[in-house]
Structure formats: C-alpha cells, structure tokens
C-alpha cells in the first residue's frame, strides 16, 4: 500500500507541473509562503488536471471555501474489491455487508490518521465534519484560513463557460498530515442534472405519461397486486437542490409538489417522503454523538473547541460540522440573487422524489440535502447572481445548491446506512472528473464512496446521461467526442439509460420500445437541443467481473439497464406549487424527460425487489443487519441476462429466463448530432452506439418488468 501511495504521489507531482504550466494565458500570482505545518510539504491529488485549458481571470475574493480531504486509507483498493465481492454470489463474502464503522475500521482512514488530518484543519481555523466510514473530511472556512492551510492563494478561473475558484500555486501541507487527495480546491463543478424539458414543457399540462400508465407499462402494478409496493424499504435520493416542503416537519415532509401531482392523478398513492439534511445534528447522528450545537459557528475557534485527545472515542472527535446548515424554505420557482433570499426549488430533486415515491408507494423516500449558504461561490463569486461575462446560465452551471454538496450527502447516506436503495440523477463526462473525484487511474474518494455504499449492501442507480454518446460538456454544449458519464460508470453502481416506450392509457405497448436518441425523439423541437441516452465504454475503469463474463467487456460499459427517458412522451412532473418567479419550469404540472426519470424509476423497482426478498426466507439470507439487501443490483441483472451460468454459485440463480424479465431493445442509437445543429438538420453525427439483440451500450440488457424481475431475483411468483 505504501508503494502504491508513493507511486501516486510521484505521478501527482508530474501532473501538477504539467497542469500549472498549461494554464492558457495565465499569469498567476506566486504561490504563497512556506509549507504550513512547519514540515516538508506533502504532495496530494488536488485537481490540477481540471485546470487544463482554464484561463486565470484574477484573484479570488470569495471569503469562504469548502473542500473534501481524502485521508490516507488503510486499504482503499480493498474497499473497492470488497464492494464487488459482496455483490458476487460466487464470493465467500457474498452479502456480508458491513456497517460504516466496520468500513472505517477495515478500509478507511485509521483512527489516528483521521484525527490527525482533522486536527490539522481545525488548528488552521477551519471547520471540519467527518463520518464514521473515515473516507473523507469536509473542511470549510474562510478563504484566508484555507489559503493558510494549503499554503497558496486562490484565484478565479474560467473554463467551459464556468467561472470558478482554484489555487494559484500548488497546494501543500505538512507531510505529517496524512492526505491522499483534496477535492474542490479546484471548484470547477461540471456536474449537471440529467433531466430534459420537452418542447411542450413551457405550456404546462399533465399530458405526459401518468404514474398509473408507467406503473402498468413496466408491471409495477403486477408487483403491487402481490403486495410488493416497497413497504419496509427506504429509497435514498442524493439531492440536487431544495424541495418545496414545509420546514416545520422533515419526516414525514409535507411535499407540496408531490401532493399536487397525487391530486392531479386521482390521489395516486405515494411513499412517505422525509428530508434528511446534512446539518450539524445530521452529522452528529451519523457520528452517533450528542450535544452538538444546532448551528455550526461561522468562524470556528479552535481554542474554544479543542481537538479531542486521541484516547477519546472516534465517534466523538469532531465537534464541528462543516458549515452545513438547515436549508431555508424555497422562495421561488427560479430566481437570481443571493441565498437565502433566492433559494429556488430544484426540479431535478422534485423529479427524483416524485418518480420514486409514486412507483414505490409503500416505501420511505429519504431525500438527502446538504446546504451551505456559501456555496454560490462555486458558480459565481460570492453570489448566485448574474454570472460574470463568459459564464453560462441555465441548467449547466445554474446554482443547484444540493448538487454542489452531493459528496457530503453521499457520506451522510453511508453513515446513516438506512437507505436500502439510492438514486442519483446527475453526472458529468468521465474524463472531466479526473482530478476531482478520482485520478487518471480511477483512484479517488468518489469511487470509494460508491464502494462503501455497495459494501453496506445498498443498491445505487445512476442516470447514464442525456447527451448520448457525447457526455462531455463544453462551453457550447456537449463536445464532439465519445464520452461516457460519471458516476454512472462506477463499477459499484447500476447505470440506467433511457428509452422511448409508446404506450396507451392502460400502459400497454403500442409500438416498439426503442433506445432514446436523435433518431427517435432525441431532438428538442424548438429548443435546438439534442439529447439521447448516455452510453459507451469507459476509458478509465476496467469492466467488473460480472460485466466481463456476461458481455465480454474489458472496460466498464454502460448503461446496464434502461427505463423511460424520452421527453417527447415524458412523465408528469409537478413543481413550484404556489411559487412565483418561475423561469425554467412553470408552476404546476409539466412533462419531463431524461435519464433522470429512469434512475428513480429503477430505484423504485429495486425497492419492490428488496421487499420481496425480505418476504422470502430463501432470499433473506444475508448475514448482516440487513439480510434482505442484495448489494449492487447490476450483477443480478447480468446474471438474468446471461442465465445461470454467469455466476457459478448456488447462492443465486435466476428464477426466470431473460426473455421473461427484460424487453430487449432492438432499435435506436445514441449517436448525437453536433451540439450546434439545428433541429431536423443533423449534419455529420457524432458516432454512437446502436441498440441490438442482447446487451448494447444504449439500453444495457434491456427494459425490466417489475413483477418478473421480482420473481427472477427472489423466486416470489408474480403472474
């Protein structure tokens, strides 16, 4: 392990040099001062690769910064490996799920390292939050304190139309501080939601598919008829922004938009929704400590909150909570201004909640949201207001508050270990995450987060993206190059692509299910936008064994499975109920598409599977506290696809053949027209993948039907 880290550090130094020398037109100020900590500097991954092609535009005066520090792990590679084994029926540790504490003890940072890193940042006047899995620390504080802690000034840069903060010099800390990487020092957030507005969205109507139609189209209704509606299962949503809820009660939360869409559709049943805020108390709950102040100090004073002695319990070592706060109520449908006065509801968040809640009506939906009023610096310096010249507005780069804080939301979900299924509907081009969540070798704290979720037995479903074969975005839309999305391509999640499915009011098919792409519904009439299901081959991550065996993949291919996404048919989303100032989405119901629809639909379907597993003694065999959990869903989907021969183990054998569970999509492509092409005039397309018999990189193994998926996995007969 030490050898590996040393090699990584050496590689980092080279990259840093190259990156800093590659700042086009940059004349940065010199790196500030000596190495903090009065020791030889330590090299760590800090996101320098993301500065490639960025333009320095001047010094930053953002006042507040927040980063994530990946502390030296005891066995990071072991965590990744364990996560895959725990979902592999042929492994001796199959379904031996771990608690967050066990993850921390076996794979995460050691108690001493975690405490040492935290102590360093606290000594620098920064605020720290941690979680029992000991993967990363959330570190926040003033710009001055951060600059001092990392020995560099920060400047403003522009790239791909985004203005962001990044170090001017090479960040460094004492070698005694056991850091492997620090993300968000380069605060270039290119993640974006995967929802697509249909051309009719702006008129407001309920003319997209109703929940009743979707339920019958993919046989959720068949599962309901057997009592499998998600009861007893918790679905976690990694929030991209605030919901329009009453703040007086977070669990159950009074979601005004969910109530509105239910009322529209004959009081359709829906899951109980709870909002789980990453707040001081939330972090405290994750750490299983009490007595934490309800609000974190704006400028924590180390002397007033001394670092606990090493002898203290590791769960009580962090009296700080970062600068996470309880979110204020949403104020607008959309707005420009500063937080908290301008706190628009997030359509993506509401979409994820509605789809999962309406399709798993017996489940509980835990909506994770981390809120930090200082986050606006990420987009536009110190404000959510008008972006600087050259910045893009709209969904790409808009202030989606929760999306910026998705990492602490995931950390909190790991720490809570309560959600059985997690849905994520955002991402960015895989190469564009290099230097952020992972390095060019795919090593970093974000893959560890997903590994931790899988190690707890949690199934994670992630949208595969909406830009077809070209998921890397530039200043003028997606780039004309093959590119897959992250984190849908992580080896410990299930990637969910999108289809067009023509159905009637009963949800019966009236035509072929096709891959969602520019040849069938991917072009946004009137909007000039092109869209299609994300899919392709990773250039970084090797194929996991279950995918290699089933489809002979050498590098990770995605998506793994597909559900509704085409905005032309769309599903109904209700947002901004009672709010004014709407710009992007109208108040009330509207149609919506994108793989942001498909991921929560799949999460809801898997919740039904887990409920059935819970009710099946032969399935509920996991030796953990969650014996009904199955870990990552993808290996099971590929096992069904491949038949019983995929996993040579008696632990799991599909109870139904592939053709009885999945619709094999045979038509469609995710080739993309150039981003600048006008509607109906494609020009030379960016090559993509075609749907075909069996697995393909547009719809994976196909479109699942809930009832038979339950039967295939658990043996519970659903007609």
């Amino acid at each position: 392990m030490k050898r590996q880290l040393a090699a990584l550090a050496a590689g980092v130094a080279i990259v840093v040099t190259a990156a800093c020398g590659g700042h086009a037109g940059v004349t940065p100020a010199p790196a500030g001062g000596s190495t903090p900590g009065n020791s030889s500097p330590a090299a760590f991954e800090w996101g320098q690769a993301q500065l490639r092609d960025a333009v320095y535009v001047g010094p930053a005066t953002v006042q507040h910064l927040q980063v994530y520090a990946l502390v030296r792990q005891q066995n990071a590679a072991g965590l990744i490996q364990y996560a895959q084994q725990v979902s592999d029926p042929s492994s001796p540790v199959y379904r031996h799920f771990l608690t967050p504490q066990e993850i921390g003890q076996r794979f995460g940072a050691s108690h001493n390292d975690y405490q040492k890193a935290a102590a360093y940042f606290v000594s620098q006047g920064l605020s720290v939050a941690g979680w029992p899995q000991h993967l990363a620390l959330s570190v926040s504080g003033t710009q001055a304190a951060m600059e001092h802690a990392f020995g560099t000034k920060f400047g403003l840069y522009q790239k791909n139309g985004l203005t962001f903060v990044a170090p001017i010099g090479t960040p460094r800390v004492s070698a005694t501080v056991p850091l492997v990487a620090v993300t968000n020092l380069v605060a270039l957030h290119q993640e974006h939601s995967y929802l697509v507005l249909p051309p009719r969205a702006n008129v407001g109507s309920t003319l997209a598919y109703s929940p009743q139609q979707v339920r019958n189209a993919f046989d959720y209704s068949g599962a309901y008829s057997r009592g499998f509606n998600g009861t007893g299962i918790t679905i976690g949503i990694i929030g991209t922004g605030p919901l329009n809820i009453s703040r007086s009660s977070l669990c159950p939360a009074s979601d005004k938009d969910l109530a509105a869409v239910r009322a529209l559709y004959n009081n359709a049943t829906a899951a109980t929704v709870c909002e789980v805020d990453v707040t001081p108390s939330g972090v405290a709950a994750g750490l299983q400590i009490s007595g934490i102040p309800s609000a974190a100090p704006a400028s924590p004073n180390p002397s007033a909150s001394p670092i606990p002695a090493p002898s203290q319990s590791p769960t009580s070592m962090f009296p700080f909570s970062g600068n996470f706060q309880s979110p204020p109520p949403v104020t607008n449908g959309d707005c420009t201004g500063t937080l908290p006065a301008c706190n628009p509801e997030d359509g993506e968040a509401q979409l994820d909640v509605q789809q999962s809640a309406l399709l798993a009506p017996g489940a509980t939906v835990d909506f994770y949201l981390a809120y930090n009023s200082n986050d606006c610096y990420v987009f536009f310096p110190n404000s959510c207001a008008t972006p600087p010249p050259g910045s893009k507005s709209g969904n790409y780069g808009a202030p989606q508050i929760g999306l910026v804080e998705s990492d602490p939301e995931i950390e909190q979900a790991i720490a809570d270990n309560k959600a059985d299924v997690v849905s994520i509907s955002y991402g960015l081009g895989e190469p564009q995450e290099v230097g952020g969540g992972f390095n060019s070798a795919g090593v970093g704290f974000e893959p560890e987060e997903f590994a931790a979720l899988a190690t707890e037995g949690i199934a994670v479903f992630v949208s595969s993206g909406d830009s077809g074969a070209a998921e890397c975005l530039g200043a003028n839309g997606y780039l004309a190059q093959p590119c897959v999305s992250w984190p849908s391509g992580d080896v410990n999640v299930t990637s969910v692509g999108g289809v067009n499915a023509p159905i009637n009011e009963f949800g019966q098919l009236t035509g072929n299910i096709t891959a969602w792409g520019v040849t069938n519904g991917g072009s946004g009439v009137g909007s000039g936008s092109w869209s299609g299901t994300g899919g392709g081959t990773s250039t970084i991550f090797a194929a996991p064994s279950w995918q290699h065996t089933a489809v002979n993949a050498t590098m990770r291919e995605q998506p793994d499975v597909a559900l509704l996404a085409d905005p032309y048919t769309g599903v109904t989303l209700t947002v901004n109920t009672g709010l004014t100032g709407s710009k992007t989405l109208p108040s009330g119901p509207t149609g919506i598409g994108g793989t942001s629809v498909a991921a929560p639909e799949m999460a809801a379907m898997w919740a039904l599977v887990l409920q059935a597993c819970k009710a099946t003694p032969a399935c509920q065999t996991g030796p953990s506290a969650h014996p009904y959990r199955l870990g990552n869903a993808a290996p099971y989907l590929y096992s069904i696809y491949h038949g019983s021969g995929l996993v040579p183990s008696a632990s799991f054998s599909p109870h139904l053949p592939y053709a009885d569970v999945f619709y094999d999509v045979l038509y469609g492509s995710n080739a993309m027209c150039p981003a600048t092409a006008k509607p109906g005039v494609c020009g030379t397309p960016i090559p993509g993948q075609n749907a075909m018999t069996g697995y393909d990189q547009t719809t994976g193994v196909g479109v699942p039907y809930a009832g038979h998926l339950i039967q295939a996995v658990t043996g519970q007969v659903v007609p």
Partner: protein, 445 residues
Amino acid sequence: MATAVLIAAALAACGGGGGGGGSTPPVPTPTPGHTATPTPAPTLDPYGCVGSTPSSVMRRPMVVYPTAAGDAFSYSGTLSDTFAQSAPCPQPTATNDATVRVNVSEASTAPPAGATDSTSVESDAYSKQTTTITTRQTLVSSSTALLLYTTSSSDAIGNTITTAYAAPQTLDVLPANSGATWSNQPAASISEHLADGTSISRTVKNDGSYTDTENFPGASPATISVDGLASGKPLDGGGSYALGAATFTYAPPKSGNITVTITTGTTSKTRTFPSWFTVPSSYITDAFVDNGPQSFDANCPTAGAISAAGDHQVVETYQVLDPVLGYKETRITTSYVVDGFGAACVKIDDTLNSYYDYQNDTTKIDYQSQNGQPNSMDHLVEYLGMTSPTSPYPALRTQSVRAVTPQAVAQALAAIAHTRAVQHAQRLRELHSYALHIAHMGATK
C-alpha cells in the same frame, strides 16, 4: 355443487321460473340497422321448452336462448400483437405474444327488462407481465336476436369506458341461419373516465361521425368534430380539433392530397400530404354474416367434447376510419358456433394502420404519411377456445329452453375494444399536447 347446478338448471329450464330463466324473453324492438334475414323460430312445446328429450344429435337450426344468472363460461387461447413501422424510420418488426384466459359470468339486471349483466374478465399473460381487463355488458335475448345495450370496460389501473348504444346492437340473429347477414349502426354515447383524471365524452352518429369533448387534468377543454355531424351533411372526409387558440382543420381529400390548416389566433399555416383514404359512406361499419357450417380455423384451441367444426361460422367485420386522428382499424371476428356450446372458438384479427403519429409511434409527433401508406401497423390476432362447459348444455339441462349463446364472443371482443379505446385516448392526449404546444409557440413556429 355440480348436482345443485344440474337441478337448478333443470328446474329453471322446465319449471318456468327460478333464476329468471323460465320467464318469457323480451321481444326487442327491431333495430334500425338490423338487416337480418332470420329463419322462423321453431315451435315451442307446451312448457316453452325446445325438445323434450336430450339427444346427442344437435338439431339445426339451433335455438339459442339467453343465459341466466349463475351461468359461467371459460375460454383460453392466445394473443399475438405484431407492430411494424415503415416510416419515418423503419424499425424491426416486433411481436408480443400472450396466453389468454377469459371467464364470463352472468347475472340478472334491469333495465331493460329481462336483461343479463354479463361480466367477463380477460387476463392476458405476456412473457413479462399479465394484464387484466374487466368488461360488463347488458344483453337482452329473444327468440329472434341477441342484443347488446351497453358496454362498460375497465382495466387494472382504473380506466373506465362506457358505451351506451342509441339502438341495441345485434350480436346474433336467432335462430341461427346460414347465409343470414345483418349490420349495426354505430350511434352511441361514449363516456371515458381515465385513471389519470381525464374525462372524455363522445357522441357518435350513425354515419360514424362524432364530436367529443375532452377534459385533461390541468388543461383547457378541447373538442373534436369529425364532419357530417352537426349539419347532417354527407361525410366529406374532413374534421377539426379545437383547443382554445389552436385549431387543426383537416380538409377532405382533394386531388390526391389532404391539407391540414393549423390556426392560432389570426395566424395559420398549412401542410399538405398524400391522401390515405377515400371518403366512405360511414366512418364506422359493423357487418355480420353467417357462413353456416365450417371447419374450425387450424389454430383454434378446442377442448374436450367440442367438435372441430362449427355448426355456424359467424363473421363480423368492424371498420373504423378516423380522419382526424389518422388511422384505420379493421377487426374481423370469426366465431365458430357449435350447437349446445355456443361460440366454441373465436378468432379475432384486428389491424390498426396509423397514418398520422399522435402517439409517438414513430416518435415524430404529427408526422403524416408521405406516400399514402401507413406509417405503422399494429396487428392483433387472438384465438379463444371454450374450456367450460365441457359438455353440451342440452345434455346438462334436460329439456332446457336455454342453450349457450354466442354472447361470449362479444365479451372477448370487448377486451380488444378496450385496448383500442385507451389507445385512441392516448392519441387524443398527444394531439392535445401538440395543440397546446402550437397554441403556445404560434402556428408558424
């Protein structure tokens, strides 16, 4: 239980009472569109029974009387749904197969007097899921005809469609007679309450023209008017769809082309495309013929004691042309009626050709055929074979006045009718959505 049924049946058959089966069947008023040429009814014995002793030899023409409360029939078979798309992007042809079970039960109801409330539950088990549609029909039978007054169907998610016919529909002419032909006129009031809160009211006239009002949740009401209605003029093949500020006006075919004018406010634009139909005398036709004894279709799933040949082959041809929603449907139902059993085998062949795309079948909303040929075709073929009763009713019901009617044929049809009705509703939804878009963007966008 079987003994009780036998006794009850026998009592009902010959005792003139019990279960309503012995009451005198109502004699319906002749249907306006009824062009049957029935043979004379046989002479009844003093007890109103047909035949005095059970016989293994079925007499022709058979006399069919209504079923009664408590009667039950079962069918099983297959359903194959094939979808083909040639434009704008040719797609691979796909087939979705299912096994089908239909259970029919009878109960008394009123009004009309003497009516039977016939409920059928059809379950279609596809490889990936099972769907269920329940249909209730109000039927009245006499010695001369089996008549359908209303049909109500609902599916598992709560879409309910109710049709009340202006004049009863003749499902069969009694006694069965080879060579008989008859037809029905389609005038009806149709009420659709969909699971998502949508309500649609439609009035159909005898020439198949119709007007309807649609109320989609959260949207303004809209209307469709397919010509020939209000003015009573002959059909000319046109129609309109109106939603507030947006109107789609479909001109009759002219010089081989159809022109649709889309108007928002004072702005209009037109689209012209090849004609795909000639103006019919009626947009909806429903015709029957009794072809007499015929061997079963080779795919008929027959069972047990039921012979492989029908004493009567009754063929219904039902056709719909919708010039606004842009489709033609042809449904041919072939029933093999066996004495003592009724409709022992049924084949339903339903083809829906779509020339416009208001359901994203081609994934290009409002895409009109560019060559007069359908953009897509949805072809349903269903075979149903009777599985119970397994013995001829006359053998079970000594001297029974009752035998099995072919009404289960209509029941089986109703499930497909429901499927097509909710498909029609989905097209309306898409057209409505498109009209909203046009209204918002302006017709010239």
